[in-house]
């Protein structure tokens, strides 16, 4: 089975990148798909997101709708943003830098938007 690593390195709201990437991952959920949150993408891992004022879908709902997609969080990016003590979505996996990069390199393809 082909494996794909969808890397989100930009903020989850304010552009369509996260929404597009999550939808691409959802379409690929029958394959071995993982979403990696890196850089500003780690904001997607925060719990209690409320996007109603933006008139946008809550992106964390997409993550919960596809439990077969792994969600990996680059821990150093959380640390850089002072988010280590913030509440996170229950289904995310925290990874140190080395482990996160290993996960990227074992994938057949990396997709960024």
């Amino acid at each position: 089975m082909k494996s794909f690593f969808f890397l989100l390195d930009s903020a989850p709201y304010g552009s369509e990148k996260a929404f597009g990437l999550l939808n691409a991952a959802a379409v690929s959920s029958k394959m071995d798909a993982a979403v990696g949150l890196y850089g500003d993408g780690v904001y997607l891992a925060l719990a209690d997101q409320d996007s109603r004022a933006l008139g946008l879908p809550n992106h964390s709902d997409i993550l919960y709708a596809y439990p077969e997609i792994r969600v990996l969080v680059h821990e150093p990016s959380l640390v850089d943003r002072g988010l280590m003590n913030a509440g996170l979505l229950e289904r995310v996996e925290l990874m140190d830098g080395e482990k996160f990069f290993e996960e990227m390199l074992v994938a057949d393809g990396i997709i960024l938007l």
């Binding site: 390195d9 890196y38 850089g39 990069f101 290993e102 990227m104 390199l105 994938a107 057949d108 393809g109 990396i110 997709i111 960024l112």
Partner: protein, 122 residues
């Protein structure tokens, strides 16, 4: 073989991530297209020196590591390929720092189609 297609400038976070991953791979090759060809610039080509004698970029920000220094630390010359049209469009000279295929995209696709190849685009 792991093929990295890099289209971002040296200061981009994606470039740093790409080179980090390439450095972790024994069999990596990097294809530079678009703004990715700026990674062949050395510091003296990309920036200047301030009144303290410190290397700075054209923007005035201190230089950390020039694009080619980072790239060369990651890969040997024969594993770096650059697109001639994109070099010319940006006035960048490869000066022997990379291989310039006559058909850049043809070469890239041939590598991609090889059995066992993995492709990462940044």
């Amino acid at each position: 073989m792991r093929i990295f297609l890099l289209t971002k400038t040296p200061q981009s976070e994606r470039t740093k991530l790409c080179l980090r991953l390439a450095a972790s791979s024994q069999d990596a090759v990097v294809y530079l297209a678009g703004d990715g060809v700026y990674n062949l610039l050395r510091q003296d080509e990309a920036g200047k020196v301030n009144h303290n004698g410190e290397a700075v970029q054209a923007t005035g920000h201190p230089c950390q590591k020039d694009g080619f220094q980072a790239l060369a630390a990651t890969l040997q010359k024969h594993r770096i390929f650059a697109c001639l049209e994109d070099l010319e469009a940006r006035g960048v000279h490869a000066d022997g720092k990379a291989t310039i295929p006559a058909d850049f995209y043809g070469s890239l696709v041939n590598e991609m189609m090889r059995e066992g190849s993995q492709v990462y685009s940044f």
